[in-house]
Symmetry: D2
Subunit: 346 residues, 4 copies
Amino acid sequence: MIKAGIAGATGYVGLELTRLLSAHPGVSLIRLSSRSGNDQPIGDVYSSLTGCGLPSVSPIDAEELSKNCDVVFTALPHAASAELVGELHSRGAAVIDMSADFRYDDEAVYSEWYGVTHPCPELMKEAVYGLPELYREKIARSRIIGNPGCYTTCSILALAPLVKERLIDPSTLIIDAKSGVSGAGRSLSADKLLAELSGNCKAYSVAKHRHTSEIEQELSKLYGSKIVLSFTPHLLPVSRGIIATSYASLFNGSSAKELLDCLSDFYANEPFVTVFKEDALPELKHAVGTNRFCVGLIVDQRTNRAVVVSVLDNLIKGAAGQAIQNMNIVFGLDETEGLNYLPWTI
Amino acid sequence: MIKAGIAGATGYVGLELTRLLSAHPGVSLIRLSSRSGNDQPIGDVYSSLTGCGLPSVSPIDAEELSKNCDVVFTALPHAASAELVGELHSRGAAVIDMSADFRYDDEAVYSEWYGVTHPCPELMKEAVYGLPELYREKIARSRIIGNPGCYTTCSILALAPLVKERLIDPSTLIIDAKSGVSGAGRSLSADKLLAELSGNCKAYSVAKHRHTSEIEQELSKLYGSKIVLSFTPHLLPVSRGIIATSYASLFNGSSAKELLDCLSDFYANEPFVTVFKEDALPELKHAVGTNRFCVGLIVDQRTNRAVVVSVLDNLIKGAAGQAIQNMNIVFGLDETEGLNYLPWTI
Amino acid sequence: MIKAGIAGATGYVGLELTRLLSAHPGVSLIRLSSRSGNDQPIGDVYSSLTGCGLPSVSPIDAEELSKNCDVVFTALPHAASAELVGELHSRGAAVIDMSADFRYDDEAVYSEWYGVTHPCPELMKEAVYGLPELYREKIARSRIIGNPGCYTTCSILALAPLVKERLIDPSTLIIDAKSGVSGAGRSLSADKLLAELSGNCKAYSVAKHRHTSEIEQELSKLYGSKIVLSFTPHLLPVSRGIIATSYASLFNGSSAKELLDCLSDFYANEPFVTVFKEDALPELKHAVGTNRFCVGLIVDQRTNRAVVVSVLDNLIKGAAGQAIQNMNIVFGLDETEGLNYLPWTI
Amino acid sequence: MIKAGIAGATGYVGLELTRLLSAHPGVSLIRLSSRSGNDQPIGDVYSSLTGCGLPSVSPIDAEELSKNCDVVFTALPHAASAELVGELHSRGAAVIDMSADFRYDDEAVYSEWYGVTHPCPELMKEAVYGLPELYREKIARSRIIGNPGCYTTCSILALAPLVKERLIDPSTLIIDAKSGVSGAGRSLSADKLLAELSGNCKAYSVAKHRHTSEIEQELSKLYGSKIVLSFTPHLLPVSRGIIATSYASLFNGSSAKELLDCLSDFYANEPFVTVFKEDALPELKHAVGTNRFCVGLIVDQRTNRAVVVSVLDNLIKGAAGQAIQNMNIVFGLDETEGLNYLPWTI
């Protein structure tokens, strides 16, 4: 059994890690810790977890975590996360970091978009970007995984094969994404209250959302030159899930079949990717509750554009599930272990 | 008092017409009729209306409606609506038609997108497209109003001034729209059940939604040449409202201020249009419950694109409210009468 | 035109007063004020109100309010509200108070349930309990109205005639009530976030909710001796509305018809009360968006109990709408003016 | 591996059985069948299951199911289910029946409440009521399990120990239950559409819901004499979960501690029951996504009543999860296998 700990267990990502790890047959979840931890029952933080037999929430102690855990999932705000990762790494723990701190190749890009100096830039080189569909082999050999963002995963996986094979024109790329509110975390604000968010929908961080830079980094590498794209996130009045609708002009007037074949070939052996057949598109709930990423597309011949629709659960394939997938890879488990769930259709 | 009747009172648009007209100080709502009408209480159709003192639901009788009503709102499926409009018009009633039948300049475009032959093409010429912000004067003199579609109104009003003034490149236009489920009407299907739609979101009719043709018709006239654009509707797990996020490249690298000034000038005297200030964007709930149309935008200098966000209530400014606004114009009332509501924020 | 002001305009009740008063044909809403007011636009507090042409939010100034307003609606927390009411009243304004401060006959009961000493007990005698169906004549002559609580109105109106006519045994009375979250106000807490409340439902304040005392006060007076009852509030994952299911044993084995006749007789001339026919029951949405109170019942002969179901909109008939109804009475307007809306069925 | 099949896989209970069984480590789900089955992919019925690698939906064939499956879950309407159960049982399959057909001791009670003659009354004697907390030993030896109803389980488990130990007066028992709409199944009706149910809540089948008879049967046996009680179901605007608030007068003025001790003792070794501590109550979401049953209570000394709040997921502990728990018992597996999930808090 892999002994796992969570640092930052009381946020939504920490909660989801707790939920999934506690049902993982190969994992013993031995430590829940949080910056606000004082050994209270987790049921004091999420009353739904009352009586579920989970560890109490301890303060974060890097030494103790490193000594007792084979792997630590760090889910703190950026910069704070990197500091802890450094301490854990130097003491020998494998670390899967949920923050943005180890997602970037270039420290300058990180600093520009996050507005902080990276606390331990030397570790950035040791880290691997934790997107198994692109970096499985490197992940298997790494001890620091920078787990990708939620919007990022949903966008990159939808577009990577098409960009790599130069079927779409990246200069025309527009990603219109819609996310459940759990992506915004548990911090309190009136616009997230049910009374105000229920029945609402809004765009936010238009032309400046931080995940833009992460999407551009990965797509640019695949394309071979710098891509700049439009990314617009929207808040949906639902708890979970991201649906991204991406638009791009076709380079060669490819058919829907050609584009879908490109996706199917690229993801032929991927356990968590479903490429939809022609004329079918995934819906948000196809992914909710699962580690799936689903993608489908329509070619609009009137406008010579591809419209690509992709979905995932922001807390699972967009965060905790992908982190566990990465853990499975690092520890040599079957990649799907603890992650084989059908969607929450109802 | 204007004597008003509704033909097709039992659908969602008919229900909203009933709700708004019954509170309109200048209107006496004397007739609710429906193809399934047999003089049953409207409370048998919508139990919430039990005991509200409304007329019962009669069968549709063009002669009776024409004789007793100054204005008839027709809310039947396309083609069926046109037939009734013809009968009502020939008998002298002013008609505001909620279907697509009188929205098109060109019968061929209508036939192509709706897949039917128009039952009375000769009347198409007499009809005026009921978008007051573009055709107020013509509406005032007309007896057949083709009330615009919901997505259509939300899209055209957002883009008309920018297209007309050639600030954005229409060949790059992409409209990503999200609508509450009332837009899909009351017909029963599993995907509209709360158990399945709650927590869901999906794209549908991608690259082939009928409202595309209506948007293109109006924007093309303003631009002076044929525009072909991408329009993608999405279903939101909410009852009401449309939010459209539109993308277009800037012709001349205009600033957000220049674009907003263009919108503000165009809509300077419009009672139902709110143009947002720089850096602010409207949200779905800014419009829900009202006849407002709200628009704001961001200029993304990285990509040289404008991102325009517009919202309205699909049942009000997108249907019943706009119809009443048209009625007010036709009958010389204050245009805002019966429509001056603040949004349902909570 | 009645000049109206609101003190406490930024809470949910204040917001609803603003919404309804701004559409009231006999009212000029001239002042929005709040303890946090500093002349900011109301759109800074509720962005949905951006561009709606409302007054900005001023600080609360009793002298200024009294001088300029014919009526002031006070919507502050208990005790704080009474202090302001005293200042406004002494300066001559009619006051309709939304807090609990002027709802009680007995200062001791107020102190026991609210845990504070009343700031101006001498004014309690001058105030009238603002439930028009019971106290219309007194309200017409009063200058201080203690507007009833939301659960209270929904419970009292359902049971008052049956208790008064001794058709049900008050010692067996159990009220199981379910409310939308707007009843809990705008204060921030994690359990009111959409991510956590959506899909949830819970009982709270069981056997100790303050409204219990208000219900008992009014029903006891009608019955002629002290009634003690069980009241259990529940939080629904919706924004608005209360549905109360009340249970009581029948004194004389009355039929449903007899009970319904009792209700119908009692409310024969009430503009906002709908008594449902036998075998029909009101639903939450029958009331949402309106000042209606709807009631229906079933007699369970197996258990000799009546099951009474009643609904209202907690922000309208349960708060702002009832306050405006009271205002209409005080100022001699038609009691339904500004309140004649059909429900928000969709 | 236990080979399992489902007859009636396309309803909501069948869907939930599919979801849970496909992740059960000891089960091979080899057959999905349905009366509408014609070997179509299950993704044609629930598009969310597209690409999930499940069996297609075959027609129901008792012989084929019996030959290939160790256990068949029958989820058909009452009466239809019993006929199939008879065929499966005579061919040797273990059967867990989700309908009401094998829940009753007395054929007459079944006929009275369900309005049909039982198709195979002789099998009723062979069947065991599948509530493990009451009948675990019998279940282990049975080949026909009558899986309890959802409201039933939530009500019986809350009250059984208190009734058995005569701490509450059953003649005063009132159960006010609230359920998510999945309990009403997938049949289409306008009142279940999101546009109409969202924001709504209603009581239904008051004083005549069929589950009343099942609750009375079980509590009466524990009490030793006939109990007649009030049961009122309500529809919540959520997909899943039941919360029941039960009221009863105390026989001996017991304290909350005494009542809670009674519950804790009764359920001391139950893996899926959580008894809450004094002053704490479970909420709907404590159970959603799990096979848990949670119960807590308050004693109201003012009225000498206990208020008991209980929750479960209607599709899991109220249906599919309980069925799998029964299967685990019948086949000698660890009772929690395939059912150890934390709640879907978000």
